[in-house]
């Protein structure tokens, strides 16, 4: 630890949510605020209440076993933190994740964000898009910025015990032979780049008994089924903890 000078406290801390389309950014955000109702949120201003209402609608849809439409454009969710500042979750358009240069606004927002939450799902049909999103983000994001990597949709590929072990020590778990090589490489790229990076496996749908809480409809879409989100709050509280420390300090 080194000495640092005190800087003026910014009133808004921006957290960029970055990831490919359908990776689960908005879903995870809604599950966090819908299920956990974090105590740090102060509900005395309209922006916060509007954001929470938005999350609640998504969460209600998920609990109603309905799919949530993808984000077509960046959406800012502002929530007042009890420590006085405002947390701005910038839910970025996943379609731009593959090529960040296509939206300079997104690139600028990503670059200027105080923290970032990068989403990647278990490699599958979306593996290329997810890998591209990670690589693009690594080009834009400051290595010293608090950043977390969320590995979504684990319920589809891991048992509860494996998920728990994966959550307990992702990097160690990723060393197993049966672990996805693409995912392991993405994780290693991430941890190499970010000095304060942390990896959090999450599952929004979770499991019903020992089975994943979803099914595929007649259109091949993964439809939620009595979801039980697990460990979605960890990355948020990690990143908020980093922001809380970062609020007063400049190197």
């Amino acid at each position: 630890m080194s000495n640092a000078a005190v800087a003026a406290e910014p009133t808004t801390r921006t957290v960029a949510l970055w990831g490919a389309t359908q990776v689960g950014k908005t879903t995870t955000l809604a599950a966090y605020f819908g299920k956990h109702r974090p105590a740090w949120v102060v509900r005395d201003d309209s922006d916060t209440r509007m954001s929470l209402r938005s999350f609640q609608e998504i969460w209600n849809a998920l609990q109603g076993n309905r799919l949530v439409p993808g984000t077509t454009m960046a959406i800012d969710h502002r929530l007042r933190h009890r420590e006085g500042f405002t947390v701005l979750f910038r839910d970025m358009h996943g379609g731009n994740a593959r090529n960040v240069l296509t939206s300079r606004e997104d690139a600028e927002a990503l670059y200027r964000a105080d923290a970032a939450m990068m989403f990647i799902d278990w490699p599958g049909t979306n593996a290329v898009a997810g890998r591209a999103a990670i690589e693009n983000a690594l080009q834009e994001l400051d290595p010293d910025r608090p950043t977390v990597l969320l590995i979504t949709k684990c319920e589809s590929h891991l048992s509860m015990a494996d998920f728990a072990l994966f959550a307990m020590d992702p990097l160690e778990f990723a060393q197993r032979q049966d672990f996805s090589r693409e995912l392991r490489e993405s994780m290693e790229s991430f941890t190499r780049h970010f000095r304060q990076g942390a990896v959090f496996p999450v599952t929004v749908y979770g499991w019903n008994g020992t089975r994943p809480a979803h099914f595929y409809d007649e259109f091949g879409r993964l439809v939620p089924w009595h979801i039980q989100p697990a460990l979605v709050e960890r990355p948020f509280e990690h990143i908020l903890g980093k922001l809380g420390q970062r609020k007063e300090v400049t190197p």
């Binding site: 509860m160 494996d162 728990a164 959550a167 307990m168 020992t210 960890r234 420390q245 609020k247 300090v249």
Partner: protein, 762 residues
């Protein structure tokens, strides 16, 4: 008691009471009760009766007077021929004829005015040529020759009846101024015949005899059987007649009787007292009177007063004379109670301590005065000693005791035993006393002045040293001259001073100026302290250590004060640095400066570290400024528990960083870093523990119920029916459940691995 008398010759004397009239009366000296004053006619004019005396009688002018007291005077004790020697004359009379009066030698007239005030008494003598009682002498020739004597016609014969006997005497002249009595015939009230021979030549005399005294009533000369006629009043024949018959006559007394009596008594006593004869005369009557009064009062006057009595008459009153001659006496006389005391005072007027005696004896009888005189010497001696010796020493107390013992002596007569011996012993002790402080008041005052100066000097030094030592000024109460700062101790303190080091303190320095002023004053008034090696060395020390830079002392103590204030706020830090008065000012200053620096450093460090740590900046500063702060131990202990649970020491040091390794800036910086690291580790561990708890929550709600159901089934199996995996699950589950809420990461991980293997196996 005051009166004026006028003599026959017109002299005037006024008699008045004087200062010592009561005393003269007390002594029975009536002739000295009043004193005379010779007045000129002009001085008593309005009190004089204008008279004119002739052979036939007296004529007067009333003037302002309206009554006249007439007193007939008969000299030489011959009885008066009247029952009323005193009579009053009213204003319708302006003259008196001798012939109308009873036989007398003189008249004394005293006029009175309408208010009853008396004028001067004037004495008028009967003309000497007039017979007392006139007789007719007629020569009778023949066989029975002689001189026939008969009272003058008109003479009241009852006057003759007052005489015991009337005699007719024939004195024959036998030579020049030689006479011989040849006949003596008793006469009756109608007279008689005094036989004489025809050749008779001489005097025929009528004598009246009363109370054994003879009085020449009338006479005539007879020569050659012829009556030649009456002799002139002052003729030699009258003189011879008195001489040869042994009869009295008018003596020519000049003054009224009362004055004459006084004058006679004064002159007589003066002569008896040895006043030179040339001084005994009417002009000196006042001086003589005063001389005798003073003599009666045993007031000694100089010999010149005896040879020049008039010198005593120059003062207007006797009181003035006494004031002049005995200045101390008059006030005492005025306060004396009675004649005895006043006479005692006059008798002791020469006593040098008369005032002290009277003051001591008070207004009491002469006995007290006598006793007071007896011991006044002792008392004065003791009072002098009391004035000389301090009352708060042994000798002073003994003096006071002796004074109190003898104080009632004039009244009681009780005399302390061995007074002389005690007084002598006391004097000897006083003379040989070498006490410190001195018992003599004057020496004591000198000693006090010396002490005051010395104390002032030493106090200044003490103040300067105290400021150098402590940085403060002593609040001094009223000076106690006996509480003199010890010179040796001052020197010892001065020797310990060294030139103070420079500090980082700045600012105005009134204390430094005051300090310099004190030292300068001590130099200037070095003579206030008796010369000694210690004094000079003290000054040298102060000159060497204070005067070069007095401000340094002030700044040094300002630094020390700041250090003490910070030490009170941060006792643990101060204790770590060994703060406290060590007597080594330079060392104390270094430690104070270090403390101040470290306190500032701790504040900066807290501001820097706190944002990154789970602790408020204010709290963190308290910890960083408080080595061995209890939080350090508890945080470390919690970290140790967390590392035990999480299975990772998390860079936790082997021992808690309770205090810096040494009281140096570098060591403190290292310690602050170590403290910050500890809090950082603590924060990380807590975060990890919270994270573990979230994972455990998922496991408890998702996996554990399934595992527990599995375990229940397994536990219903016989021991031999369980596989190794079953037993392993049971053991892991048991361990998991036994851990309670704080499941260690190792236990959690084992449980998950066992369960995972079971799932895979299934």
């Amino acid at each position: 008691m005051t009166w004026i008398d006028q003599s026959v010759a017109g002299e005037i004397l006024e008699w008045r009471p004087h200062l010592l009239s009561r005393e003269m009366e007390h002594l029975g000296l009536d002739h000295l009760v009043v004193e005379p004053l010779v007045l000129a006619a002009g001085e008593a004019g309005h009190r004089l009766l204008a008279t004119a005396a002739g052979p036939a009688g007296v004529h007067w002018t009333w003037g302002a007077f309206c009554r006249l007291r007439l007193e007939l005077c008969v000299e030489q004790g011959f009885p008066l021929f009247s029952d009323e020697p005193v009579s009053w004359l009213s204003k319708d009379r302006t003259e008196l004829r001798w012939a109308d009066l009873p036989p007398c030698d003189a008249l004394e007239l005293t006029p009175f005015d309408a208010a009853g005030a008396a004028g001067a008494t004037v004495r008028i003598s009967r003309p000497p040529g007039e017979p007392w009682i006139p007789f007719r002498f007629r020569y009778m020739g023949g066989r029975r020759s002689g001189v026939r004597l008969r009272p003058q016609p008109g003479t009241p014969l009852e006057r003759l009846d007052r005489l015991e006997r009337l005699e007719g005497v024939a004195l024959v002249q036998e030579g020049h101024d030689r006479f011989r009595r040849i006949r003596q015939v008793e006469l009756d009230r109608s007279g008689g015949l005094v036989p004489i021979p025809e050749s008779f030549a001489g005097l025929v005399v009528v004598l009246g005899i009363a109370s054994g005294r003879r009085r020449l009533l009338d006479c005539t000369t007879v020569y050659e059987l012829d009556e030649r006629g009456r002799p002139a009043p002052d003729s030699h024949e009258w003189f011879v007649a008195r001489r040869e018959t042994g009869s009295g006559g008018a003596t020519g007394q000049a003054w009224p009787a009362r004055t004459q009596a006084l004058l006679d008594a004064v002159f007589h006593e003066a002569a008896a007292a040895g006043v030179p004869a040339d001084q005994i005369r009417i002009e000196n009557i006042r001086g003589l009177n005063r001389l005798l009064v003073l003599r009666a009062c045993r007031l000694a006057v100089g010999p010149e007063a005896w040879t020049d009595v008039s010198s005593l008459a120059r003062e207007a009153s006797l009181a003035g004379l006494v004031r002049h001659l005995f200045p101390r006496l008059l006030p005492l006389l005025e306060t004396a109670a009675g004649p005895d005391e006043r006479l005692w005072l006059t008798a002791n007027a020469g006593h040098p301590d008369l005032e002290a005696i009277t003051a001591w004896a008070g207004a009491t009888a002469t006995g007290a005065l006598v006793r007071a005189r007896e011991l006044i010497g002792h008392r004065i001696a003791l009072q002098r000693l009391a004035a000389e010796i301090r009352p708060d020493c042994d000798e002073g107390r003994e003096i006071e005791a002796l004074l109190q013992e003898i104080e009632p002596f004039p009244q009681t007569g009780w005399r302390p035993a061995d007074l002389d011996g005690r007084l002598a012993s006391l004097r000897q002790r006083i003379e040989t006393s070498r006490a410190e402080p001195p018992i003599h008041r004057q020496k004591y005052q000198e000693w006090l002045e010396g002490q005051r100066r010395s104390r002032s000097w030493r106090t200044g030094i003490d103040d300067a040293l105290t400021f150098c030592e402590c940085g403060g000024w002593l609040a001094r109460s009223a000076p106690d001259l006996l509480d003199l700062p010890d010179l040796a101790l001052l020197l010892e303190r001065a020797r310990k001073l060294t030139l103070p080091p420079k500090t980082t303190e700045t600012g105005s320095e009134p204390d430094g100026k005051r300090l310099a002023s004190l030292v300068e004053e001590a130099r200037r008034h070095s003579d206030w302290e008796p010369s000694s090696r210690e004094r000079d060395e003290i000054l040298s020390c102060l000159e060497a250590t204070v005067l070069p830079s007095p401000a340094r002392w002030s700044l040094l103590h300002r630094l020390l004060r700041r250090g003490r204030e910070e030490a009170r706020r941060w006792p643990a830090m101060a204790g770590e640095l060994g703060m406290g008065a060590s007597g080594d000012l330079a060392g104390d200053a270094r430690r104070a400066q270090l403390l101040i620096d470290l306190i500032e450093g701790s504040q900066q460090a807290a501001r820097s570290y706190a944002p990154l740590l789970p602790i408020d900046a204010v709290e963190l500063r308290k910890v960083l400024a408080s080595p061995k702060h209890p939080s350090l131990g508890s945080v470390y202990h919690e970290c140790r528990k967390l590392t035990d649970r999480l299975g990772d020491d998390g860079r936790l040091p082997p021992t808690p960083p309770l205090a810096p390794a040494a009281p140096t800036r570098e060591a403190f910086r290292d310690w602050w870093q170590a403290v910050a690291d500890l809090y950082a580790v603590w924060a990380a561990l807590r975060q990890r523990a919270d994270d573990l708890e979230k994972q455990l929550e998922f496991t408890r709600t998702s996996i554990l119920p399934v595992a527990q159901e599995k375990a229940r089934r397994l536990t219903s199996l016989a021991e031999g029916e369980r596989s190794d995996a079953d037993r392993e699950l049971l053991a892991a589950l048991h361990e998991f459940e036994a851990a309670g809420r704080d499941v260690p990461a190792r236990v959690y991980h084992r449980f998950l691995e066992v369960w995972r293997r079971l799932e895979e196996a299934a």
